[in-house]
Symmetry: C2
Subunit: 346 residues, 2 copies
């Protein structure tokens, strides 16, 4: 495992330029394949290959609980985290279905589920974070451990042959932790960043906002110390996602960022290692309230907008076909010259 | 081949309702899979199956030339239509690449290419339309023949086992014909509907607009006679696309509508048989200027927005994975009950 905090490989500008030049020889008006074109160029630069390959993808689903769930901020009780993990293991969740569709290797990692779960990669750092309304979610050491869990998961996926990573999560109340992290990291008001998660009502939304505002005031994390912010507010699966992004980039693997939680994890990871940004591909614009702000902080424009608000990596798995299409466009399309088409645009 | 103009089967409301009810038992917060959910319901109603299947898809690419190309309205010369058809036959175009990715049956149909082409389904009605700046693009009889070409192509695809259809096109100057059709069918000003096609410059754009305005004034087609509008302005491939949509619906096959040209063909077909609308799934929001107006006329909101402006059915092929995902969601996801997850949303 590399020391991902300090040294990410440079984006391969030469391969990216080679891919960009090749694109303009292909049998289509220049630029007419829209966002697939810069995507293909980015993939070439990430992989360090003028004709990159991204299959098979690896899906990593990190699961953990949040002490803040005790503040009644979620539509679902905390026990659902473990129940959904069992569902991932049995293959019945949305991410399982979409991962099978794209031929992905899927791994479910317990970074900190409160209850006992089986059939997963057991990397439980602690049985859920502490309630950050009352105390720090975890120690700095635990945050580092959870980042390491994500780094090892990315390492396993790449060593198993995965050429791209889809990073998902499960954790009841994790939109609460994510909104809090986002407010501190961006300095924006909590009210702009708090949404309904999996479906709380108006009263729940008001409570969630008040809980986060009070907790940030009480914990008073320092925005210039991202690891401290993470330890203060959680969560364990968010830390692991950040670690998976960092290790994936260290291994030149394109990283598909799912929705709100994943984007906050990506933002945190970029604060730890800004070079990470070039390795990130934003998959889906979530309807969760804070996602727009998280995307803006990363100057990101996702590929899809399908009104999803599930998490698990589901939006990233759905976007994967576009990465595959971008690669195939580069490697399989004929050029004007080989196809014997004499006329370019006037 | 059914008489598609008069009798399309009813959308199966019972199957659609059964799919909708099943969705709310699955292990996800209600509605959290966003647009995939109504898409799955629509597919169930189209197919008349509560657990619909859409694979394998069939791709139909209709090619034809346009006499209006003589007015210098395109960035490419007319000969490129035949050259691109040869590229489709050789497997080197974008639609070939994306069709292979989704395991589609692909057929290229010559409805009216000006030059000789080989290796295609030869259904040439005439060697390109007449120049509608000077005379009607074709006769009503030829328009009916071209619609029949599309109907037969859809019939072949469905009889070969295709469970969904992607309808694409190739025809230099066909954004000009489409913009003219759209202006007449919607009554909106030409200036709002004319764009750069595959890449004309500002002078070309002004010329294209003037040509269309003068031609509509000269031909004076009656908007309440859609077949007459089609005969007056063209094109042969647009007529065939309309026919493929009508026959696909008659056979309960979901129809993926690509970009600008395909949407205008769909609008025309809906004027011939309004019940068609329920069978259409809009794949991609093109950056071609008139597409927004065409979509608005059909109250359609496409699944993807990737800044494509290529045609060929490329955007529809890229969206196909979402139809497949919607079907798999219905048939493969566990329910809260079977997964032993006790808690629904509060």
């Amino acid at each position: 495992m590399s020391d991902a905090f300090s040294s990410l490989p440079d984006f391969d500008a030469a391969c990216a330029a080679q891919a960009a030049a090749h694109l303009d020889t292909l049998t289509k008006p220049p630029g007419s394949l829209g966002r697939l074109e810069p995507l293909a160029v980015q993939l070439a630069g990430i992989r360090g290959e003028p004709f990159p390959r991204v299959s098979p993808p690896g899906v990593l689903v990190f699961a953990a609980d949040h002490g803040i769930a005790a503040e009644d901020v979620s539509a679902f009780p905390q026990s659902v985290t473990a129940q959904m993990v069992a569902n991932f293991v049995a293959g019945g969740a949305a991410i399982n279905v979409f991962a099978r569709q794209i031929g992905a290797r899927l791994e479910v990692i317990d970074v900190g589920v409160a209850g006992a779960v089986s059939g997963v990669v057991d990397e439980k750092v602690r049985a859920g974070t502490a309630n950050f309304a009352v105390e720090d979610a975890m120690t700095r050491g635990e945050a580092m451990q959870a980042i390491g869990v994500g780094q090892r998961a990315a390492e396993r996926a790449v060593e198993a042959g995965c050429r791209s990573l889809i990073v998902g999560e499960m954790g009841i109340a994790n939109t609460t932790a994510s909104s809090a992290l986002l407010a501190v990291l961006t300095g924006r008001p909590v009210a702009e960043l708090v949404g309904r998660g999996t479906g709380i009502d108006d009263a729940g939304l008001a409570r969630k906002r008040a809980v986060i505002e009070a907790a940030i005031a009480a914990r008073a994390p320092d925005a210039d110390d991202p690891l401290g912010v993470l330890a203060s507010l959680g969560g364990l699966e968010i830390a692991a996602m950040a670690g998976a992004f960092l290790e994936g980039a260290a291994r030149r693997v394109p990283l598909l960022v799912d929705g709100f939680i994943a984007t906050v994890a990506a933002l945190l990871a970029c604060r730890l290692a800004p070079e990470l940004r070039g390795y990130l591909i934003f998959a889906h614009r979530s309807h969760e309230t804070g996602h727009g702000a998280a995307l803006a902080a990363l100057e990101a424009s996702p590929l899809l907008d399908l009104e999803l608000r599930l998490g698990e990596g589901s939006g990233a798995a759905l976007a994967f076909a576009l990465l595959e299409a971008a690669c195939r466009m580069l490697s399989e399309m004929a050029s004007f010259e080989t196809a014997g088409i004499s006329a370019g645009p006037a």
